[in-house]
């Protein structure tokens, strides 16, 4: 498909490579997005393996480097820039300067806030795909995508992580792939696609 071949020239940034980021990155690599910029400062732990795209023999190693390895095993033609560092409101501007679409895949709400506010202030037009609400199980009918201008929100927007609400592979997988699907739609059709469809 000619349209899909254009993905080779696209760059997608992924902020955070945990449950959302690792699965989203793999989906984008499988469909042939040419260049992925991955950022995370964490190492793989055993408790991550219930949902994140890592393997038992990668425990203790930096997530971004392991994700780059895993992606290269799936599709060696993808360029992966793996940055093992913590994003903040200063370095993010340089790191994601050239990406076509940015995926927010961070864990804590305060980190999400800093990154989302910085991105929307610095690049008010650039598509940003965020994940909000994916803990627990069931509730398939609650998970959805909603667009506000250049901001695309995936998730159920209510299920917060907590002691009784762990993040688990199925729902995290659904939301991360919904983010990847949204990125794909933006790359192939532009970010104005569903804009304000539900107005009036």
């Amino acid at each position: 498909m000619v349209q899909l071949e254009n993905l080779r020239n696209k760059v997608v940034g992924i902020a955070g490579c945990g449950g959302l980021g690792s699965n989203c990155a793999v989906a984008l690599a499988r469909v042939g997005v040419g260049h992925l910029v991955l950022v995370d400062f964490d190492v793989v732990s055993e408790s991550n393996l219930n949902r994140q795209y890592y393997f038992y023999d990668q425990i203790g190693k930096p997530k971004v480097l392991m994700l780059k390895e895993n992606i290269e095993r799936i599709n060696p033609n993808i360029k992966v820039t793996a940055l093992n560092l913590k994003l903040d409101d200063q370095n993010i501007k340089e790191i994601f300067e050239t990406v076509d679409v940015l995926v927010e895949a961070l864990d804590r709400s305060d980190q999400k806030q800093i990154i989302i506010e910085t991105v929307l202030s610095f690049w008010p037009e650039r598509p940003l795909v965020i994940g909000i609400g994916m803990a627990g199980w069931g509730g398939n009918d609650l998970i959805h995508m909603k667009q506000y201008g250049n901001l695309f929100i995936c998730g159920d927007r209510i299920s917060e992580i907590g002691p009784e609400m762990p993040p688990l592979a199925p729902r995290v997988g659904i939301v991360s792939n919904m983010q990847a699907n949204t990125v794909l739609q933006i790359l192939l059709e532009g970010s104005r696609v569903g804009v304000q469809k539900n107005l009036n």
């Binding site: 999400k112 506010e117 008010p124 609400g133």
Partner: protein
């Protein structure tokens, strides 16, 4: 005034409201919010001094942890 709030039309008897007044009226009490007016981010320390006017497009997004 008539505004768009989270992609929905809303009507208020006031000619203008601060962001904080809007949050109070709508009972948005969550502490972690992303707010945009006509695409521009409004940070927490600006809620009391930033005004919403007729025809403004306002987004109030509640953030929760998980990823």
């Amino acid at each position: 005034m008539k505004i768009q709030l989270n992609n929905r039309k809303e009507v208020f008897p006031d000619n203008q409201l601060t962001v904080q007044e809007l949050l109070d009226i709508k009972k948005f009490t969550f502490k972690m919010l992303i707010i945009r007016i006509n695409g521009n981010i409004v940070k927490k320390d600006q809620y009391k001094e930033t005004y919403i006017h007729d025809n403004d497009d306002v987004m109030v997004l509640h953030l929760i942890s998980g990823g």
